[in-house]
Amino acid sequence: MRLVAIGAAAGLFSALFGVGGGIVIVPLLLLAAGYAERPATGTSLAAIGITALAGTTLYAFEGNVDVGYAALVGLPAAAGAIAGASLQQRVPVRALTFAFSSLLTGVGIWLIAT
């Protein structure tokens, strides 16, 4: 029953913001479903596949999905994510996180202010 509630919350968040919803699923699996970090991340990714597919389908009916743009950023990103995950072992991620956090803050302010 907890998984059903977590799934529903993640689905709402995912469709509202166009994101996978891992930011909701992973902490809830850790806190409310007794998961450890690695299985939470792995199981979340598999669940997001279904969530994102459902969101894409429903938005496609509304005419909001641009397949060309999705391929343009989505395909190089899949390759980049594999590179990024393996880089994680070799670079000082902790120090870089503050720079990345500042970048996200800047983009957030840009979206709010324009």
Binding site: A46, G74, G80, S86, G108
Partner: protein, 125 residues
């Protein structure tokens, strides 16, 4: 799509993927502002982002499966349960003014930025 848009889109997509893999965040949080930067409206950017994350998510899920980190029954239950939430989310997003939706997304980014900084700050290097 102009050649410039294609070149910028490919570069930003690659960069978004590397950052997502490096910092363990989802691609969507980076795809949406990227697509807005490329000229899409907020709603189209969000809808397109959901399709764009599928290849990354599929590759990530397969890799995690090989490490034995995916509990497939739970994942299926989570995914199927999410569909009702997705319907509500689409309904809300398509009825909100786009500038409100964009500002809400901006607030989400600030929240993720704060969470990342906190995680890095509290983890002892």
């Amino acid at each position: 799509m102009s050649p410039t848009t294609v070149a910028v889109g490919l570069a930003l997509g690659l960069a978004a993927g590397i950052l997502a893999g490096l910092f363990g965040v989802g691609g969507g949080i980076l795809f949406v502002p990227t697509l807005v930067g490329l000229g899409l409206g907020q709603l189209d950017a969000e809808a397109t982002s959901l399709l764009a994350i599928l290849p990354t998510v599929a590759a990530g899920a397969l890799r995690q499966h090989r490490y034995g980190n995916v509990r497939w029954r739970d994942a299926a239950l989570l995914g199927v349960s999410s569909i009702v939430g997705v319907q509500a989310g689409v309904l809300i997003a398509t009825n909100l003014p786009e500038d409100v939706l964009r500002r809400l997304f901006g607030v989400l980014l600030l929240g993720v930025a704060a969470q990342l900084a906190w995680r890095a700050y509290s983890s002892k290097a």
